[in-house]
Amino acid sequence: MATNATIELALDRVDWCALAERQDVLPRVYTPGEVVMPEAGFMRGHGTFVEDENIKASVAGVIEKVNKLISVRPLKSRYVGEIGDVVVARVIEVQQKRWRVDTNSRLDSILLLSSVNLPGGELRRRSAEDEQMMRRYLDEGDLISAEVQNIFEEGTLSLYTRSLKYGKLSQGVLVKVFPALVKRRKMHFHNLPCGASVILGNNGYIWISPPKSQDQEGGEGGFAQNLGEAVPRNEREVIARLRNCILALAKCKLMLYDTSIQYAYDESLKYEAHELLQQNVIYDIGEQTQARLRDGDE
C-alpha cells in the first residue's frame, strides 16, 4: 500500500515570475490615484474617478479605452458581470419564486422562476408556486449553466436559462480560477477533441463533464440528472487530466480558452494524470504552452 507522498522543500520552489519575463510587450499598469488622462473630451468608466480635471485610476489595473470611454480593469477581482456572459453558478438558497445563486461575484446573483423553462418545456402559469415544487427542480448545492440577463443597479446579476444550451449540470468536476483568466469569446461551450466537454464560465467557474453527444447540446435546458450510470474509466481519466491542465494554466497565469487548453492537454500527455499536480511539471507545461501559443500567433 505504498503512497507516492512527496514533500518538497520551499528552497527549490519554482520561480513562477520567470514565465512572465518572456512576455514581449507588458501592458502599462496603473496604480490607484495615478493620473490616467486629462478629463477633457473623455468619459469616465469603471475603476476611475475625476479629480481636478484629471481622470485618475481608482484600482490597480490595465486601461481599457472604447473610443471616448476610459475605464481601468483590475487584474485580479471577483467577477464583474456583463449582460450576455455565460456563467456557471451554484444554488445557495431557494426563496419565494426565485433562487439565490453564487457566481463568484461580490453579491449573490438571482435566478427568477420566470427566467427558467420548467421541465414541461411549455410556459407553466406562474401561479404561487411554493418552495417545495421549486426545490424539486433546483435544490441547494446544484450547479447550473446560465447567461446574465440583466444587472440590477446595486450590481446583483439576474441570470436566465431559457435556451436549451443552459440548465442543470449533471456529473462532472468544477474548477475555480480567477475570472480575468477566462478569455471572453463567442463560444463558451466546447466539445474538446480530447474527449470531454468544457463550459468556460466568465465568472471563473469552469465545468468539465463527459462529452455531450451532439443532439443534447449544453445542459439539455432541462433538469434531468442521470445519477445512475457511472462515467467510464477512460472518460474519467480525460476529465482528471483536463482538470489538472486547467489548474496548471491558471497557476502560470495563462489565458484560458479552447486552444490554450487543448495545447496544454497535448503537452501533458507525457505525464501521468496525478503527476500534473507537482509544481515543476506545472511549470514545464506552462512554458511549453506559452511557447506554442506565441508561435501560433505569428
Binding site: A128, D130, E131, Q132
Partner: protein
C-alpha cells in the same frame, strides 16, 4: 426477535428487524428500511394497520409519552401570536392529539388562509392574536413550520372578543366568517373552522 407482550402485542426495541419489505408494506412512524428489511427505530408496540387496498402500514407506537415533531400533513393546534398583512405567526403547541411540551414556531402565509380567492385574503379579518386555530403542516422551513388553514375543517376554533373585558368569554361561531360574543353580541370577522360536532355536547338543543 421481539419478545411477546401479554396479549398478542409485540414489544420491540430500536434496531430490531420487523419484517421484509414487500411492495404492499408501507413504512409507518418509528420504522426505517435497511437492505431489504424493515427495522424499528423507536421502542414500543408494533401495530400493523390495513390502509387502502391490502396495503399494510407497519408502525411502532410508543406507549406513554412519545415525542412528536410536526410532520408534513399533520393537523396541528396553534395559537396566533402576531398578525401582519403578509402572514400570521403562530405557536404550535399540540400535534394531532399529543400535547407538546415546548411549542414550535408556525408561519401561516396570506395565500394559505383560504382556498377561494387566495390573493384577496385579509389576515386581520381572519385571525386575531390570541385565537386558537386548527391548521395543517405544509412543510418545514428554516426555523419554523409552514401551515395552512385552506380547508373548511381548519381555521379559528376558540376566539376571544377583542375589546378588553375582564371576563374573557369565548365567542360563539355564527356562520363561516363571523363569531359573536355571547355577552356583548359584538360580531367579529374570523375564518371559522367547521368543527365536527360528534364529540362536543350540544347542551342547548
Amino acid at each position: 426477535m421481539s419478545s411477546e407482550g401479554d396479549e398478542n402485542t409485540v414489544v420491540c426495541l430500536p434496531g430490531e428487524r420487523l419484517c421484509r419489505v414487500e411492495d404492499n408494506v408501507v413504512l409507518g412512524i418509528g420504522t426505517y428500511e435497511q437492505n431489504g428489511y424493515i427495522y424499528a427505530s423507536k421502542s414500543g408496540v408494533v401495530n400493523i394497520e390495513e390502509s387502502g387496498e391490502n396495503c399494510q402500514v407497519v408502525s411502532v407506537h410508543k406507549p406513554g409519552f412519545h415525542l412528536t415533531i410536526p410532520a408534513t400533513g399533520d393537523v396541528v393546534t396553534a395559537r396566533v401570536l402576531v398578525t401582519t398583512p403578509k402572514f400570521a405567526k403562530c405557536a404550535i403547541f399540540c400535534v394531532r392529539n399529543v400535547l407538546l411540551e415546548s411549542s414550535y414556531r408556525g408561519l401561516l402565509r396570506k395565500e394559505d388562509v383560504r382556498e377561494t380567492e387566495k390573493d384577496r385574503v385579509d389576515i386581520y379579518k381572519s385571525f386575531k392574536p390570541g385565537d386558537v386555530i386548527l391548521a395543517r403542516v405544509i412543510n418545514q422551513m428554516e426555523q419554523s413550520f409552514l401551515i395552512t388553514t385552506a380547508e373548511t375543517e381548519l381555521g379559528v376554533v376558540v376566539a376571544y372578543a377583542s375589546d378588553a373585558r375582564k371576563t374573557r368569554v369565548p365567542m360563539v361561531p355564527v356562520g363561516w366568517s363571523e363569531m359573536q360574543c355571547p355577552l356583548t353580541t359584538i360580531k367579529e370577522p374570523r375564518k371559522v373552522a367547521k368543527v365536527l360536532p360528534e364529540s362536543s355536547i350540544n347542551i342547548i338543543k
